[in-house]
Symmetry: C2
Subunit: 763 residues, 2 copies
Amino acid sequence: MHNKYSVINTPVHNVDGIAKVTGRATYTFDVQLPGMLYGKILRSPHPHAKILNIDATEALKLPGVKAVVSGKDTLGIKQGIWRRYKELCDEQVLPMDKVRYIGEPVAAVAAVTEEIAEQALDLIEVEYEVLDAVYEPFDAIKKGAPEVHEGIERNLNVTRHIEWGDVDEAFDDADYIREDWFKCGGQHHMCMETRACVSSYTPEKRLTVYASTQAPYYTQGLLAGVLGMREGDIRVIAPYVGGGFGGKFELDGAMFCSAVLSMKLFRPVKIVFTREEDLIASKRRTPMFYYVRTGVKKDGTFCARESRVFTNGGAYTGMGATALYLTGFFHSFPYKWRGYRYDGYRVYTNTMPSTSMRGFGAPQAMFCSEQQIDWIAADLGLDPIEVRRKNGHTPGYEVPGQAFIGSCGLDQSLDKIEEWIKSRGKLPANRAIGISAAGFMSGGIFNWFDTPYSFSSAVVTINEDGTVELHVGCQDIGQGSNTTMAIICAETLGVKVEDVKVHSGDTDHCPADLGAWGSRQTLMAGNATKMAAAEAKRQLLEFATAKMGPNIVYDLDIKDRWVHLVSRPEKGLDYTQVVKEALRGKEGQRIMGRGFYTPHRKGMISPAYSYMVQAVEAEIDEETGKIGVVNCVTAHDCGQPINPIGLIGQLEGAASMAVGYGYLEYMPFEDGKMMNPNLVDYKVIRAPEMPECEVIEIDTFEPEGPYGAKEAGEGLTNPTAAALGNAIFHATGLQMKECPILPEAVLNAFKEKREKEQEKKNA
Amino acid sequence: MHNKYSVINTPVHNVDGIAKVTGRATYTFDVQLPGMLYGKILRSPHPHAKILNIDATEALKLPGVKAVVSGKDTLGIKQGIWRRYKELCDEQVLPMDKVRYIGEPVAAVAAVTEEIAEQALDLIEVEYEVLDAVYEPFDAIKKGAPEVHEGIERNLNVTRHIEWGDVDEAFDDADYIREDWFKCGGQHHMCMETRACVSSYTPEKRLTVYASTQAPYYTQGLLAGVLGMREGDIRVIAPYVGGGFGGKFELDGAMFCSAVLSMKLFRPVKIVFTREEDLIASKRRTPMFYYVRTGVKKDGTFCARESRVFTNGGAYTGMGATALYLTGFFHSFPYKWRGYRYDGYRVYTNTMPSTSMRGFGAPQAMFCSEQQIDWIAADLGLDPIEVRRKNGHTPGYEVPGQAFIGSCGLDQSLDKIEEWIKSRGKLPANRAIGISAAGFMSGGIFNWFDTPYSFSSAVVTINEDGTVELHVGCQDIGQGSNTTMAIICAETLGVKVEDVKVHSGDTDHCPADLGAWGSRQTLMAGNATKMAAAEAKRQLLEFATAKMGPNIVYDLDIKDRWVHLVSRPEKGLDYTQVVKEALRGKEGQRIMGRGFYTPHRKGMISPAYSYMVQAVEAEIDEETGKIGVVNCVTAHDCGQPINPIGLIGQLEGAASMAVGYGYLEYMPFEDGKMMNPNLVDYKVIRAPEMPECEVIEIDTFEPEGPYGAKEAGEGLTNPTAAALGNAIFHATGLQMKECPILPEAVLNAFKEKREKEQEKKNA
């Protein structure tokens, strides 16, 4: 297809790619400040215990130790990212009263070397009164269970209810009803870069924080809250960030403890988590127990669905409240239901807090929904693709009370995946293809952070040589958003990508933006950038129009640095020349355009939704239970792609994470203790396990997105575990209701199946 | 006097003071980048020689050496800061053809350590053809003298002519004419921080430069010129800068060589000058030979002056062309002349280039003019103060064709100094008080750099908590300009200094500004800052007016964070509340105000002038020639002071430098070689030599300045050497015509005087 754009949808290497591959990119770990100290965090060995006393006397005697801080050195403010709702701000990063999970920070040391700080940890004596603990939501929700937070009855942290239509009537109307229970595990964000922060507090009461964060503005706001400072007195700089995946936009121990230590000492303090700390004491994808009841017509038409979810919230809320809502919303996705009812219960336990992670509740929802749909189709003898086609979202659909669907490429995705499946022909006996549909949001509309700022903002300033300073608040965490913004700016202004310098990750220089989560940046920061660049272009064209003197009904535009009549592109002026003349006209002031975006009139969830259908081809070894993922093909509607190679990178990354979630990444706990907090025992997908990945692009145009773009790269974590489950189902008949689908579970399922068959035979 | 301002003229500690005294301030020397190499520069041992061949073979064999570059690795572009005039762009920082002074860069090495780079220098073999050299302007200007630059006849680099009135007629009208020849020496800028730069060039063709510079925008533009790059592809960051004094706004060897090495290696390269390098191979205050002929009436009324100046320009132009004009202009200062004629000749020699330095040609001019005035007064039996009073500038005066005098506190200054002199009573025989008047500009109007930008620009952005981001392009080099801008911004917007965060020294984030030279920032960047803050306030007041609904003729203002009716200050709103409401009204976009300043209709030199009269009390030991400076009192009209303690710091700093220039700082050369390039032999003033300094503030209001402010801190380097000379004259009758006034010269003068007296007696 002819690309009507000059820059959009042309392959662009990431603007920071060279810095990264040449080792020039400096991460928080690389930050060195004069007089900097190193911090280490003492962590709770108990899942639940009162802190009776902390004695740092011996630790402070160790030469090189400069300070030890604990809860009593803080203002004791409870914080949380749901800033608008005080009751959900439930975490003191250094607790004063008690610890609620193994690994929770109890005290922090600053010393002249990391080694000395580490040694000092052993010298801090903490007197605990160990309390009864509770680890699983169904235990924690019982009457009389230990209270993780005093006064929170049955440890019920948050409940969420979604309902539309007359659910009971719709169930009554169903020909067939099926109900299942599922269990979905946690997953670690496993960023290449562990949590890290350098805080530098100075006597003039200003704090500078270098942090590995997905959202510098959140970090600024959250730190201001707990430190009793003004946001404006805190500068957050996010250097290059080595991944976030939903785990790095809350306040973490590295940030808080380094800040508190620095405020005590008036010296910079660096804290970098070890991999083990990152595994036991950051947060995780929310484990969920899912009850799903679905009623359908004989022909596969969906009538009603009802679901109840109990999540293992761990010790604190964090982003868990959002995940609880989104899993309920996406559990309806991407289908039309006459009646839909969801009840979610987030339950506190004495385990590591659960929070958002790439997919944000949707991978769990799809694992349950999409497998059950295949089982229902099988129960009714229907084609699972046909069932999905019959019930899927279509452009212009309104999810009642929830969402407006502007663009939707679900149908085309189903067609493409059907074609691909056909192309595979007959497969060996132990091998099958499973599919799953999914969709995802393009940023959230909710404002639990209670920001007064536009959700995204951008400033475009044109230098005298035509180069462009683009200041954005959105954060590049490796996903390539700086490149995306450079492309959008270049396209809009009519210049080349290399003309645009993107500045992000510094709250002193960049406008506020909610940051990198919920797949919001391409659409929201993209819209802000487009608006800023368009405004700058408008100002430039004033001068070009004045000079060229075209008929007033003629339009001017800029493309590839050529300012021209749209109707006669050969008539024009050099862009740089127009810039210089405009600069003269403006008495030497640079052209500056500002842009911003906050979603309006787009329902409660998101301004736009991506759609996709994925096929996973897997083979299962009946002897060992071993699963091999052979192919992973996704037909993906992400609207207009901005950068095709960036898109592929994002989608392949999502697939690898999703495959890992489906059958490898497992977080076993015993008595609240994670049993595999290292990269030997915690299995992330490696090259040998990675299947062939293919992405079939479905072209749609999202009216709300910049140049028609919407989400890509997060949503693809949603369908894979379900598609893998369906592949196993079609290959073996096994219905795997627990994620990850471990070989042991497959073996057991085989065994159970054989026993049942034996029983049947015997009967 | 009641201060009508809230912030202006209240004592404010420098905003970066704590960072500096606690050692947190990071200078270019402190910059560390991954993979950084260290550079060293090989310098010419010859004052004048052809470069026949450079062989780096052996140097490159030394383990750890990564590259050696010389002129042939560059584009060979001749550069200079008088960018608008090609013929004055005469310097290749790594010359291709020949060297023109001892210490000139010939080649540069990058290695993994500074020590290895240093060793490698010895291994570079340079074949020279030594040429005849010339060191003094009167030699160099002779026919047949060696040509420093081929084809430049008589080594005449620049000539400047200033003339007004009928000079000859005015001389005819004089009752008394006196003529003298003077000689003024060079002086080293002697910044605490030597020249330093870290350049980091990346394969995407962008260059980041951390440099100790007075003008990041100039550095950016000059580097772009010599490297064949776009300005916008070069980012110049000036970290904390340890002094400039006029020596750090041209391109220097550290900048250029580190950039060329980095471009060759794609790695960051740091070059920091040693003190010796800084002394022999940066630039210096321009040495001048001054002929002055002055005609006066019997009563001391000035009729005419004619002067001719020959400067030792050294090897290249740099800022020398400006210094040549300014010395001629300030030689008329601060007096009214019916006829004035000045001819300046800048002559190339094979010595270190001469350039601008604090005072910018005026200290030399005053040394000659102000001594001669005292001698004339003595010749005619007049009171030297009375002579100055009779002829001094007055507010509203126009220096014909040159300058408009908006405010002038010369008269009051003379009164105050006269009072002080009287208060000293009778002094011991070997002690006397000399005075000197002076004035100085508040930034230059000339645009030799050919910038298309406003001379100064500022952006004020208000955060939701009322804190302010102030982005300015002006550069803090230790003089406190960031504090000055914070004060002006706080006063204008009606907030406190601690609410304002000043951002400067980064061409990617800050608007262009010509930087810190010629005392331009308080007036020019101050005006831009005031305009930006006023515009932000205007936008805020829109919302306050809408809410308060006052009678339309009422005015609102903000002071100390209180938005109120001017006529009823108790009626108002909290500033932060108005900010929050404005933010809501603007859909979450921050209030942003922009300001800029370029002087217009203010003559050819400067938009405003400071005035001062200084008294120096000195004692002279006839036995040894030793000079002791006892007191240094200045009555100083700098308009409205912005920050009284910053002002005192600047004035005391200027006095110390000026006293040093008067009798200590001496740069002897032999065959083109500086004989004392170290801090033992080159004498800067130390605490024991520093006289008591007092500043008597003369209140005026400069209409063109922000809040009435104008120059302070540079002009005070102008009068001191002359006042010291006059003190010596009044104590001893000696007329010292060479600056610095060395003890040897005083001894010789005594001897000569005694011999003359003896001759007279004998006769």
